[in-house]
Symmetry: C2
Subunit: 592 residues, 2 copies
């Protein structure tokens, strides 16, 4: 038997070796069209509509007919026809693009700050050199612009540029350095990147107006080397080749994303003169090419946590000639630049009262702001909130049960884009367990109550089902572990800062999960303590928004550095009474 995992859907199915990927996909969901897979030709390899990307694992080789079709489709390496590829072991398959579904969540609401970019355009017009002139082309340019240095690649192109452009054009400068020479009228663009474990989101900005021109996202192709951070660090640490491969995958994806956004905006990557990247500490380290093996072991220290500015080309990123990339600072080994971006986007430190910011994921980062001071922590919540480790868990894409609620004693649910449900997304698991608790089908210890209507015996013990999709006793245990981890983090922050739950007046919930989650149900399962005075505010992709703010405004970038430096940090594993606290958070709360 072999496990086939579909991304970004997140579903896994077990099939016999030799099964085609198409048949495995059929097992995972009855309506494949919603995930971008069709088989008009009935599996004859002539429609090409079942094309998938084999991200990891072994499948049978492609025959001549399939190769011909793939060539006709212009498919990149690694793409296969699902009707032809037979699984030869555990396999991870990418359904990409997912035409409908995966909330790539590039959006987030924010007030654009006044543009205050780190780079500046400067129009220039030089008189052509004459015999006896001593200054070189670049010297005259530097003199005219009052700058002291010139990027080496700019220097290499200066003479040719001036002669072609009639000694006039637009220079882009950063501090004392000329980082690009462009024709008159060329745009001044910037790129903000939210480098997530699962998805990469990118934002193209006009740095002169601060205007967001385009936004887009794609799966992080590092999924091929491990679904979560820990798996990827293990892969990357195993050899230099592995490291280069996993690093290269992210770099290439950012390049493609940037090129795509630029093309849509009618310009090119050479117009991108500044970039900001926010990612968790592992993504940040992998992009920079830093040692990562130490991130997997106590004391979990980063190679570098402070802000880093490097030339894009030194990372392999194809942007403007001498463009720098600013990597947002990290707070600690497991609180990265993505979380600093969330702090920036929510302006958390400026909150008057007490506010929490929660970025839920495999690792959940939580910040508490009180009197202008921010304290952070990170908890290993595991993949349950993203549908992982749940037997029929999946991401919030087409076919996922995304909401569950009680109508009287009836459990109701909705499915993303309708149709037959294929699995549960994380938020729906919370909804469902809250409903089961309320209906008395689950007790406070988390046990399904045998004999209650709807509680049935499944192959793995007790379970309940919605539309034929089971949620097992084991799944409820997974949820308990995940919510206990988050609750422990919140409690530790409250205790460390001497804050009572009633003082919290706002909870920002970031990410796709933040939009999906029902705060009442989250409270009902005890993921958060009772916060009677709190308003829940979903903030969308706050990590992306924060990176964008730091891109268009240098003040915001400095603020991010200050925030990261000033933030307090609670390391849960050494927090007094951590074990007891965690165990006490495992059960469900009693009463409302």
């Amino acid at each position: 038997m072999a496990v086939v995992e579909f991304q970004p859907v997140g579903l896994r199915v077990e099939v016999a070796e030799g099964t085609t990927v198409l048949d495995a996909a059929r097992l995972a969901g009855s309506d494949l069209g919603r995930w971008g897979i069709r088989a008009t030709c009935g599996g004859q390899a002539w429609c090409g509509q079942c094309r998938v990307e084999v991200l990891a694992g072994r499948v049978s080789g492609a025959g001549e007919k399939e190769l011909e079709m793939l060539a006709r489709l212009g498919a990149r390496d690694g793409y296969r026809l699902a009707c032809r590829a037979r699984v030869l072991g555990d396999v991870r398959v990418g359904l990409q693009p997912v035409h409908s579904g995966l909330r790539l969540q590039v959006a987030g609401t924010f007030n654009p700050p006044a543009p205050e970019p780190a780079v500046a355009p400067a129009a220039f017009e030089l008189s052509p050199p004459e015999v006896g002139d001593r200054l070189g082309d670049a010297d005259r340019l530097l003199q005219a612009l009052g700058r002291v240095g010139c990027d080496l690649e700019v220097l290499r192109g200066t003479t040719d540029f001036l002669r072609r452009q009639g000694y006039r054009g637009r220079a882009v400068t950063r501090r004392g350095e000329i980082i690009a020479l462009r024709p008159e009228g060329a745009p001044l663009l910037g790129l903000a990147v939210d480098l997530g474990t699962t998805k990469l989101a990118a934002y193209l900005a006009d740095l002169e107006t601060g205007e967001l021109l385009r936004a887009g996202a794609r799966l992080n192709p590092q999924l091929a080397y491990g679904e979560d951070v820990v798996a990827r660090l293990g892969y990357a640490s195993a050899s230099g080749e592995n490291y280069a491969r996993i690093r290269g995958a992210a770099v290439e994806a950012v390049n493609e994303l940037a090129a795509g956004l630029c093309a849509e905006a009618g310009c090119g990557p050479e117009d991108v003169h500044d970039a900001v990247v926010g990612g968790n500490t592992a993504m940040h380290h992998l992009l920079l090419g830093l040692d990562v093996s130490q991130l997997g072991w106590a004391p979990y220290v980063p190679s570098v946590a402070g802000p880093v500015d490097v030339k894009a080309r030194d990372l392999g990123l194809k942007l403007g000639t001498g463009t720098y990339v600013h990597l947002l600072p990290c707070v600690a080994g497991y609180v990265g630049g993505d979380h600093v971006a969330v702090l920036l986007a929510t302006d958390l430190a400026a909150h008057g009262g007490v506010a929490l910011a929660v970025d839920v994921g495999t690792n959940t980062e939580i910040a508490l702001a009180k009197d202008g001071a921010v304290t952070c922590t990170s908890c290993a919540s595991g993949p349950a909130f993203e549908g992982g480790h749940i037997s029929r868990g999946m991401r919030a894409v087409a076919g996922a049960i995304d909401r569950v609620w009680l109508e009287g004693d009836q459990i109701r649910y909705s499915v993303v884009e309708g149709g037959e449900p294929a699995g549960f997304c994380g938020a729906a698991v919370i909804d469902l367990v809250a409903a089961l608790l309320q209906a008395g089908l689950v007790d406070r210890s988390g046990r399904l109550v045998k004999g209650r209507p709807g509680v049935e015996e499944g192959s793995e013990g007790l379970q309940v089902s919605l539309g034929g999709v089971p949620l097992t006793q084991g799944d409820i245990r997974q949820l308990q572990l995940a919510k206990a981890a988050v609750r422990t983090g919140v409690e530790a922050l409250l205790a460390t800062t001497g804050t009572g739950p009633e003082e919290v007046d706002r909870v920002y919930v970031a990410g796709a999960f933040g939009v999906a989650i029902d705060p009442g149900n989250a409270a009902a399962i005890g993921m958060f303590p009772r916060l009677p005075g709190a308003t829940y505010v979903p903030v969308g992709n706050a990590a992306g928004v924060g990176a964008y703010l730091a891109l268009v405004s240098e003040s915001k970038r400095l603020e991010a550095a200050r925030l990261a430096r000033a933030a307090g940090y609670v390391e849960l594993t050494v927090h007094p009474g951590y074990q007891e606290l965690f165990l006490s958070c495992l059960g469900f709360p009693g009463g409302a």
Copy 2:
């Protein structure tokens, strides 16, 4: 027929196609051993002692026996056995190393300045990180050292370094940046490079003491792509591949030279934390990878003339982790960083009276200092002073006539390392013509006087011979053109600065030629005006010395920048009356 040119000897011989390189070499000089060529086996390809490097042109392919021998000798690509390689057209051959001979002239006398390097060592000892520590490894290092940034490659190695070295070591910093991490006790070395058209000289310094540890030189392998600057610019401009090849040749040669010097000093290139390069504008541009085609055309402007600091690795130089290379500034398209280095080494601007500094070569740079102000010019003196364009001209290596003088009415001469003469070096041509003038064998217009004893009819007209080596009427014409060019430059500088020849109290003559030249004879042929109050001071490889000074002392580096910026520049081609001046300098002076 084909011309075979031997480097660094500089001799050319014409042979029939199909002649072996060994036979061609025999034609060029009767005693080949002095140029490092032996043929113990009599041309049977089993002694390997006639190994040469084919720098340019086509020779016959190597057979199995020769390939075997070359492999046994560990010969690099391009090396051949002279007894086996038959010339198939014009060929340039390198006799390398020249065991005896070529005055690579790495030495120069100077007072070492107080060491004041641009980089500083800093010992550190950190406590190992503990759980709950938020700062990354590099953050703690930066904090401990009070620095603000870290080279990307240093960053990539920091975590591993600290763990291997027990959190202690020696950091190398430059301004606010950490550019290397080394074990405790590692040396702090610097490299100065004199990037000459013909030779590369390198100097390894202990930057903490200022002490010169090692010096060495080798031929510039760019000789394969043209003997002089103009030929190389033409080659480099023809295609990107050509450019990469000619650039790569210099980079590789500097890397080899640096590695060799380091090995001799018992350390490695990774110990070299700073570097300074001085070269003429063309060498400078080719090393940086700048456009060069414009250097060949009026107005001959450099791409950049000001000082440039770049990471060594961005140029392909293999030195310390984040080592910078400082390229000495150029004054103009034909007055480069090598000449600025001469100004620095001679401390010309500080000279109290009026001084000239002359760096004789294919292009001769001349500077005049008066009242602390320096004015430079450059004249196209051609290769005659280096033995080029003289029928039996050669460099001052073994076998060259290097001195000629009159004893009564007898012309005497000396040969480098004795033995039969093979040709004249440039200084000897000056000596000989001065002697011929004094003896009345040449008249003031430069004509050999028919009928005078010793003036004979050769295959190319009148000539005189020393030890069977002829100097022809044409050779004398070449010398006239060369000395007139220099004289024109000196006259233009005197005129521009309103200086009388009698005011000049010192003439620094740089380079191998400066050591070899007889000032009296140079004056006798009118290469310089009569400078009755002047002392001639040969300053050896002042370009190398200047680069060395700028390496060990940052004040000297700043001074070089000031010198280059402040220097006046006379462009001869637009100097008033240039043509008439040049023509008036062609003849020889009358009387003593």
